[in-house]
Every structure is written in structure tokens, then in C-alpha cells.
Symmetry: D2
Subunit: 390 residues, 4 copies
């Protein structure tokens, strides 16, 4: 059989993406793979197993005749939330499982990788499966981002503050004032267009009517946020949503996540370890409540996701997921896929806010200006930032 | 001084609205005024006191020289959520307060009413205070609706199922099929227009772009919802949001609120007591999760609030607050008022869904097709229903 | 039929005890009968109904032919914890029930009282039922004490601090030093003896071996406890059990219940309203953790219940339930009664501490030096105090 | 210096005990050292570090001049509950710490072991320090038992049910009927006597008066407990304490911990993996509520700790910690040690029950018939069993 160049591409892409997950984990100790300090954080070995389970469950088992499941119990261990696929370890218990060991999980990956590569080159492949493989790879890339955010949480909440690895410096955003870019009111279009991969929640390119708006050409910096903190940002309820204010009081919140006031100086935990706060770097690790309170204090607001998308070609994304003022809801005409992959996005479209852009943890090739990321308003362990609008 | 007819109107309106709150409570036993079976329900005497406190705190104290507060402790007891106005009884404790007694609360009302009538006819009145008085009256009307929903909850969750009073029959929606009304895509306008009263969250009439849509000419009936229940509505996760499914399982939900399956028959608690379910009546007391699951099961969806508003002149409202698919967010250009009344709406604009229309509990004269009601997705003690769209 | 003097006695005693419950509630507003500010406190109308239900359920229904239950639903409403007797309103929901109304509960009492008086004079009475009637009356007396403690909690936690009634002054214990009374080691006897009524948990008079001990001739005063507070009593963990220390920190405990530091002065809520703290009165409303920490700070300890009982004829009881160092466990040979009344005491013999004596809220004729009261170590809404031993 | 034979003994004992902890952990994977599936279970690496920290903190730092602490942060990580010694990781967070790594903890052990061996042979040793060393070794032996119970929990709650190691069979108790041994009433003595090591809570040998009693010559077997289960043991509330019954319902308890009903057969997880239930083995892993309900069902009771101790020379201990009917309270004349070690026992003397005997997990040489073990009534992850009395 003469090799099909398109298949070679898929095999190569598959191998590359899969290798990258392993590379992210290379600096870890075995112990780091196991723990789950909060429910939102999953143990790294769980991410490695779950992304593998995705290919086994949705590609190999239904499509590759004679495929033998690596271990029938792994379905129970590595299913995340697919009700269609049966019972699963409850989310809060992921950090209670010492087995399968990290070595077992890597064996699982190697087994499934080899089978996948065989399968991708077999006659059982077809274009609808290819779409599913692409979904699997994008799914793995999402977990690559989560791997980094979760590793940062695990190490950054350890009293010894171990570094992840050197070479994770952030670029400065700059110290000057931000500029506001203006857009006139009118009908615009948003949503995915083109021919590459996108998630179902980006589909349905459609018209929206926007009022006049202005949007900042850069993200808010640590220095600017420090001004807010100094001006009673966390003690004046008037800037906050009622829920946000409850969150401040219950958590005695006084600063972004990972910031520590030590000996009169602001430090923050970075992937290189504890460092002195860089005032010119883009602010990171704030939740929607904080983003919104900061904007209110500034006399501005967060952009809607439509404004952000329309304006996105006119500014630089700053390696932060930018909170928008838009709730995560279906686009007009949104349709869930049939079967288990239909559970991918639609069922989360309630009580979450949209973030746009991409972060320093997003894998290369996994960002688009139509990408709709979403999190609950109280969460801040992602690499989240602020861009102002008015 | 010659009586100013406009002032006479305000005095009359004030007296009418205030009297209506008392009338709602007339059928109650004293004990019914006191309890708070769940956090969302407030004791009726609290509503009576709180609406009175609103006039005392925002009108009389700042504007009527020599006004003497009825009891300085009542600010602590009857403040609802205004951080600006100082400490308050925490919400969950409202049902723990046997004092002030119901008689004391009525004395409080009479005192403040008399003072208000004096004030309204005094030279201290002006047009900006009149605006605030109007807000106070609309605020009281909102609490009149809550009084009825809370009374229904208090009596409807008592094992003796006492009736509130006779004469609270609902009209039938009809047994035939619903018809879908079509609207073409294009730019429409929504938001309050005209010169009467509206809340700040309705302001900023603005253009929106809508895709083609169809919307039902009537609400979903009990009979239609029963079909959903019989077709595994509450046991098939595929219809539900992930959060909604968690809600079903945690609460072992199997039917709308107030429905009881007794001796093989569906009964429901109404304000007249326990009755056999009327299949042709508009469905009531379902939350957003249920509304949304029902629509998914039907292969349809809930209308957005813009669609609802645009279409609202073409159908009859059925005495139900209709869940929309829109999150409660600020309209373009939304501005909070200065001072305490700025806490009225804006700070709740997160994690709630918009409801449109009005219910059998809404006071006459308190509804508009631009009115934006909002509740959390899990709540169903309001008179809520469903209108389908696609 | 010639009246039997013994029966006349029982009828009289029944009428007296029943009347006293009503007398305790005479000063209340109707609203005060309804609320349940914490799970341990029951609404007064619940106590009035529950004690009535006891006679209806255990005396009339099984023994009085043709007796008609007042309302079949009341079993659900007024059962406290008897699993034998069927389903019941969960304890935390007692304060959510506005009905039956207070008037209904009084009608229920009158109905059952009349029936009981008929029954007591009927031929259906016998000596084993008489024992049960006596249990019912002692049960009602226990609830008379709870009525007062619960009323104090309800009014004393209202921000208006209403008085219950005048004339509830406490006597002073005196300002001089306490004296220690000595007892030699040896075999003693404890447990109920004699022919009157006692609870099953007092039965089995038996020998115990006590070491030498000394016990104080009076209770600890407010003034003495204030010394403890001033000497870092609530901030030095060394005095406390680990659980007690957790309790202090979680509740930010700084003083006994009902104490308020206002304008530099210690005040406390009494049944007469808010008063200045009387330093010579017996300390009240502390839990076992506090009692034990105070004793540790003094270099002493709490007496065991055996020590207390043996010594009790040599000192005055000071109208406080005195915490002992004894866990509430069965006496040797303890036997549960058959049927529902077997649930009275035995099933609570775990994780509670014994209190001895009686309090200002204990009805006359309801105290014995063999009486074993018991509460969880964290509770302090009872009239509890401290007597030291070493 | 000529070696002091007594010191050589201490050094040898120190080395032996320390080595045994490491031996217990030898069969584990690194991942097994890290997790904490419930709050009561500590990660094995925490036990290894904490026992080491005990020697560093209480022996080396205060007594060995120029001793350098291995890592100043370890005090925060490995302090268990000593308030005297400063802040500490909260207990529920132990399983969230991936660092220090297992290798680091072993380095820590080696460092402290070497220093201890130097210290034990130095002139800084004296007899009061030797007492403390002995406490440290007994403390480590207690943690050796906990290591095994926690490892069993970690592996036994993993869906893969991995074995700990082979060779952990239990001996049979026998299938015949148990015999009851009788004791006459009278004055007995209990408490530690002799010259070896004991804990402070065993001290104060003292007289107690016991009534006639009988006690079983062997522990209850799995087979006997299965009878209880088949006779509605877990569904008939009458056998249970009220708290125990709540525990049954909340946890849907139906069998001892580690029992699984699979394909119609009772299996249980043992340290050798999942096995078929051996009916003749001593029952294990039940809590006080279950022990007490079983005894009630049998028409018997649990022995008091005094009865157990008096009778203990007349029966065989069956490798189970035997629940007694005694609350964990101070013996007459109990005194806490000064300083941090005073926190060892006394502060836990509330709301726990005494267990007597020893288990298959107790290290050799760490058991006495005066030993007072104690746990909360709801816990069952220890190797706990039942001996009946009447």
C-alpha cells in the first residue's frame, strides 16, 4: 500500500500532540502526578490517562475490530463526565487513587498510541472517524493547558513552593497607558468560518448588532491591579456583584491567587518558583468577580464576547484568557452532536462566563479568535486576565 | 393651599398600593406571618416591615425634617441587602424572629403611612423624590408578588395543606395544539420606551439582530408536561444540563413543585388547597433546568428575552413568568444609580436567568413587556412556566 | 361509684402538671410559639402539642376503647423521635410549621385533657397504665424545663431583647471563697432507691468504689468565671480538650452564652431582659468544654456523677445543672423497657455527658439527687453551671 | 569511653523500631505514599516524616547542642496536633502535598537516625531524656499500626483492589460456640503496674467495684455477624443507638467495612487482596455502633474496660481491638505532663470509646492488658472486633 500523504499528516499530528503531554510532565516527581488539592484540579496522571481513554473509547473500541481494551477497569477510573459511557470515579476522588501507577499510565499511553497508529493507517479509517480523531487531539490539547494550570496549583500550594522548571518567564505588557480602540455601531458577524477544526460551540456564524464601543489595546497589568488593591478594591462592596462580595468575605480575598505579601513586599508564585511581583506583566489568576470589580472601579466594563471577537484583529492577545461580560450560552442554531461527544460542550451552557483569547499554557496551534472558553465566575486557577472596554 | 391634582394622584396611588399588601395577608393566621421554611422564602411580616422600611429609610429620614424613626432597631431587622444602609439580620435568620410581632409591624405601617401622606402633601416633596416614591411603590408591588409565592410555599409545605383562600382558580390554556408564530431575521429594538415607570435594568432601548425564529402562541400545559414525565423526562440525562442533572439526582426530582402522586392520581397544591391536577392549565412551578430539559425533549428551545419581547404583542401572556434562554446581564450602556438604590438591580447580574411576562401573583398595573424578572436556574417557588421557540 | 382517693390524686396531679405548661406560656405572644432559631430549640407550641401527643399515643389510643384521635395528622407533626410510632416531621423543620395554630394546639390539649380525666376515672385504668401516666407527667415536666430554656433562647437571641416576664431574679451564691468538703475512699452506693417515680436510667442501685475526693460546697460564680476570662481563658489552648478548642475557634467563643460586652460593661440577657452582670450569682449557660477548661485552669476537675451523688446531701444545689466528668452510659444491669417507651433513654447513651442537680427552670417536685440529666458537650442553652472537685 | 550496655540497648531498640517502619512500607509503590482518601487516613510518607519529626523536635533540637534541623519547613508539614509547637498543615490537606517527596522523607529519616544514634551515645543523654526517647519509640509503634490500617484503606478503596503483600492470612477463631467466663462481684484493681513503659493514661492503678459479670472466651466471628445481618441487623432500629441509626441511614451501611457482595457471595478486601469471606475468622472493621447493635441483638452487651482488664488473663486476645462500653475518660488522679508531650493523651478524653487488646497490625512488644486505645464511635478503619459480656 502506498502511503497516503494525508494519513501521514494525521499520524504525525497524532504523535506530536501525544508526545507534548508527556513532555509537559517530564519535570515532575512521581508524587506530583497523584494529588488533587481542590476539586477543580485533577492529578496529572489522571489527565494522561483520561486523554488516552478518549481515543480508546471513542475511536478504537467502536471502530477497530479485535481491539482489546488495555484494562477494563480503566473506563471507571478515567471517564470524566460522559454519562453515556457508564459509571465513573467521582470527581473529588481522583486524588485518592494511588493506582494505576504513573508507570502503568505510561504503559497505557504506549499501548493505545501504538494501536492508534496502526488504526490510523488501516482501512478502517474514514473521514468521519478522522473528524473524531481531530476532536480527540483538540481535547488532548485542552488537557495540556489544564495539566499546566493544575501542576501550577499543586506546586504553588505546597508550603515548600517548588519550581516547575526554569524558563517560564512572562513577557512584559509595558508600563505606558493603554490605548482605547473605537468601533462604530452596526451589524457584525461572529462565529467560526473557514475549513479547519473548531468546536461545536463556535459554529453558526451569525450576525450581531453592536453598539458603539471602545476596547483596550492591551491587558491590565499587575501594577494597575495593585492600584485597585491599594484603593480599597477588596473592601469596598460597591465595585462588586453581590455574589462576588460574598466570595470576597467568605474567602477573605485580598489579592489575586498566588500573590503573597511577605516582609512588606508582594511576591507571587510562578512556574519558576516564588518571585518578586513584576508590575509590568499582564495580571493573571483573577476570577470573573475580580475582573468585573476592577472594571467597575475603573469606570469601565468587560467587553462582550462579540465585541472581543470583532475587535480581536486590532490588538495583541497577551497570553491570558480574558474574561468577557458574556454568559456561556448557545449560538443561534446550536446543535448537539449525536452520542457521547454531544456531551462535550452543550450541557455546560449555564452559569458560566465566556473567556476569549489564549494563555501562556495554551498549546501552539490550539487558538482561534472564535474560540469560546468558559469557567465559573469564582474560579481563578486558570491563566486569566482582564481587557477593559467601554 | 390648593390641592395639587398630581399630588392627590400620588397620595391615592400610595394608599392603594399600601392597602393591597395588607389585603393579601388578610386570610392568614398570625402564625403564618412568622415562618421561613427555606432561605428563599421570607416571613410575610418581614415583607410588610421591609416595604415600610424602604419608605422610612429612603424617603422620610433623609427628606422630612423632624421625622422620628419608629424604632431605631427596625433598620437592623428590615434591611434586606443594602450594604450602604448598615448591618442587617442575615437572610436565613428572618424566620427566627418572633418579634416585632405582627401587631407591631402593622403599627409600624400605620405610622409610616401617616407620615408619608403628610410628607407627600408637604413642601418638602419634589420631582426627584417623587421618582423615588414611585420606585418604592413598584418595590412594594414586587413584594406583593413575593408575599403570595411565599405564602403558597409556607402553606403548601405544611403537612396539613391548609388553603389560603377560595377563589384562586386558574384559567385553562386550552387543550388544542399550540401554534408557532414566525418572525423574519433582522434588526429589532428592545428595551423600555415611553414615559411611565420602569426599572433601571430595562433602560437603554437598543437594536439587536435576531435570526429567523418561531415562538409558540401559548404556554405549555400540565398535560404536555405530564407527557414528558411519562417519557422518562426525569430519568434520561440527555435532556438536561449537567447542573440540572445534578439537581435532579440530589433532589430526587420527579415532578414540578407542589405536585403529589397520591393513590395513583396526580394532585397539586393550589392556593385553594390540594386539588386534582388540571391538564389544560398552564404548567407552573418548574425551574430553568426543567424548562430547558422539557424544551430539549420537544426538539425545541426557550426563546431569548429579545425574541420574547419582539414577539410579545402577538400572543397572550398566560399568568406565568416564562423562563427565557437569556442570562441576566446589563443592557448596553447600563448605569447604576448613585447611592443605595444603585444596589437595586445591577449587583445581581450574574448567574441568573431572565424571565419575561407576569404571573397570577403579579399585582395589576405592575407588568410591561420590557420587564426583566430574574431568578437562579434551580428555583421554582415562583409562578414560572414555559413558552417554546425554535 | 365511690371515688378512689388514689385515683383522685392522679387526676389532680395530672391536672396540675398540665396546667403548669400552659402557665409557662402565658406571657408569650403568639409569634413566640412558632420559631426555632437553632435545631436544639423547639417552638413552644411544639412542646405543648408533643406532650399532649404522648398521652394520646401511649395512654388513650391503646387503652381507651372508642377513643377518637383528635387529628390523625398530628402524629406526624408531634412525634419527637419514636421510630416505633412512624414517620415524623424532621427536627429541623419544626420551626417551619405555622399550622396547627396555637389555638388549635390549645384545643388539642383541652380535648386530650378531658379524655384523660375521663379515662383516669374509668375502669380501663390499671396500675401498669398508671406507671405510664406517671412517665407521661414526668415527661411533660422535662418539657416544662425545655419550654423555659427554649423561650429564653428565642427571646434572648432576638435583636430587640424582649423580657419574658418580671420576677425571675436569681439568688446570689455569695462572694466569699468556696469550701471543699472531703470524702474518704471506699465503697459507696448510687442509683435510685425508694418507692416513688424515677427514670429507667437511674435504676440498678449499685456499689461503686471511690478514691478520696473533695468537692466544693457551692457553684462557681460569674465573678470567678470572669477571672478565667481575664486570664486568657478563651485564648490559651492548654486548658481545653482538643474538641473544645476547635469549638472555641469555630464559634469565636469569648464568654458564656447570653453575655454581651456593651460600652465596656458586661451585660447578660435574663428572663427579665438585658441586665448588668451580677458577679455573685451562680455562673450559667456554659458547655462541658468551658466547664472543663475552667476547672483545668483552677487546677481542679469536675466531679464524677458518683462523687456528686454521694456528696449531694452535704451541699446546696444552686439552681444550675452541674456538668460532671462522667459520660452518659448505662448503669450495671440497665434494661430498656419493651415497646416505644424503651426508646426514652437508652438509645442516647453515647457521646453525651451527665449533669446532676436541677435548675431554676426545673418544675417543683421534679428533682432527685439520683436524676441523670445529659447533654452533648458543646451545648449551653440549658441552665448549666460548674461545681469543682479535686 | 566504655560502652554502657544500657545505652547499647536503647540504640539497638531505636534502630529496630525505626527499621520496622521502613519495612512496613517496602511493598508500596511511590504513589501509595501520597494519598489521603479520608481525613482519618494519613499518607504513609506523612507517618514516616511525622515520627521522625517527633525525635527531631522533642529530643534533638532541645537537647543536642549544635543540632541543625534538617529543613525548617518540615515542622509545618509534619506536626500532627501539637499546638505548643506552632502552626501546621491542616489535617485534611496532608494528602494534597506531593512534596517533600518520598526520597526526601527517607533522607530526612536517615539524617535524624544518624543524629539520634550519635546523641544516644553522647554525654547529653540522661534518664529523663531516655523516658522521652521511649515515648518516641512507642509513638512510632502506634504509627506503625496506623501505617498498616491506612495502607489497607488506601489499597482497599482503590477500584483495582491491589494486594499489599502475600502472607497476611488471619488465624481462625474456631467454629464452635463461645464460652462465657464468670467473675464474682467485688473490689478489683486496674491500671498499669510494674516498671516498664506505659502511657500516662494507664497510670494511677486504682480500685474499682465490679458487679458479677460474664465475658466471652473468644471474639465474635464473621459467621456470627453474618447471622445478625441476615436477621435484619442493619434495618431494625431497635438494636441501635439513635446516633448509630443515623449513621446507618446516612451511610446506607449494610455490612462491615471492606465487605462486598459480589455475584451472590460475600467477599472482603484483605491485605492479600479480595478474598472470599472466612466465616470462622474473627470479625473485623466494625465501629462502636455496630458492635453495640450486634451485642443488643444477642441480648448481651460490650464489657467495660475494667471488666476486660480484670478478665484478660483468662482468655486469648484475637488480634482485634475490642470495643468496650467505656467512654475514654481520665483515671482517678490523672495528670497531664508539662509541655508539649502533655498534649499526648489528655486532650482527647471526650466523646471517644475505649478499645482494649491489640490487633494483627500492632507491632510486637507494643501490647499490654492495661493499654487504653480509643476511637470515635463511628470509625471502623482500624482492626476492630467484638467480645461479648453480660
Amino acid at each position: 500500500m502506498i502511503a497516503n500523504p494525508k494519513i501521514i499528516d494525521v499520524v504525525q499530528k497524532f504523535a506530536d500532540v501525544r508526545k507534548h503531554s508527556v513532555a509537559i510532565c517530564a519535570p515532575l516527581e512521581i508524587e506530583d502526578f497523584v494529588v488533587q488539592p481542590i476539586v477543580d484540579v485533577s492529578p496529572p496522571k489522571w489527565h494522561l490517562g483520561h486523554t488516552t481513554w478518549f481515543f480508546e473509547t471513542f475511536i478504537l473500541t467502536p471502530n477497530f475490530p479485535d481491539y482489546e481494551v488495555f484494562d477494563p477497569q480503566y473506563n471507571f477510573v478515567f471517564n470524566s463526565y460522559y454519562e453515556t459511557i457508564g459509571a465513573r470515579v467521582i470527581r473529588t476522588d481522583r486524588g485518592n487513587l494511588s493506582r494505576p501507577s504513573v508507570a502503568d499510565v505510561y504503559r497505557y499511553r504506549e499501548y493505545v498510541d501504538q494501536q492508534m497508529i496502526n488504526f490510523l493507517q488501516s482501512d478502517f479509517m474514514n473521514s468521519s472517524i478522522e473528524t473524531l480523531v481531530e476532536l480527540g487531539l483538540n481535547h488532548e490539547q485542552q488537557h495540556q493547558e489544564l495539566l499546566l494550570t493544575d501542576i501550577k496549583y499543586i506546586l504553588g500550594h505546597n508550603p515548600l513552593f517548588p519550581a516547575y522548571k526554569k524558563g517560564h518567564r512572562n513577557e512584559k505588557v509595558g508600563s505606558g497607558s493603554a490605548k482605547m480602540i473605537s468601533f462604530p455601531e452596526g451589524v457584525y458577524e461572529i462565529g467560526f468560518k473557514g475549513s479547519g477544526f473548531c468546536f461545536d460551540n463556535e459554529l453558526g456564524r451569525h450576525k450581531v448588532y453592536l453598539q458603539d464601543f471602545e476596547i483596550s489595546d492591551r491587558a491590565v497589568t499587575n501594577g494597575e491591579y495593585l492600584e485597585f488593591m491599594k484603593d480599597n478594591g477588596y473592601t469596598d462592596f460597591r465595585h462588586w456583584h453581590a455574589e462576588g462580595w460574598d466570595w470576597v468575605k467568605q474567602n477573605e480575598a485580598k489579592s489575586p491567587l498566588y500573590w503573597h505579601h511577605i516582609d512588606g513586599k508582594w511576591m507571587y508564585y510562578t512556574l519558576e518558583g516564588l518571585q518578586e511581583l513584576d508590575l509590568e506583566e499582564a495580571l493573571c489568576h483573577i476570577n470573573f468577580y475580580e475582573a468585573s470589580a476592577f472594571a467597575a472601579w475603573k469606570g469601565m466594563r468587560l467587553p462582550t464576547e462579540a465585541e472581543w471577537e470583532v475587535a480581536s484583529e486590532h490588538f495583541q492577545w497577551e497570553n491570558r484568557w480574558e474574561w468577557t461580560g458574556s454568559a456561556y450560552l448557545p449560538y443561534p442554531g446550536f446543535k448537539k452532536e449525536a452520542g457521547a461527544v454531544g456531551e462535550y460542550n452543550g450541557k455546560f451552557m449555564i452559569n458560566q462566563m465566556v473567556l476569549r483569547g489564549a494563555s501562556e499554557a495554551t498549546p501552539k496551534g490550539h487558538s482561534r479568535n472564535t474560540y469560546r472558553n468558559f469557567f465559573h465566575a469564582n474560579l481563578r486557577w486558570q491563566f486569566t486576565g482582564i481587557r477593559l472596554a467601554k
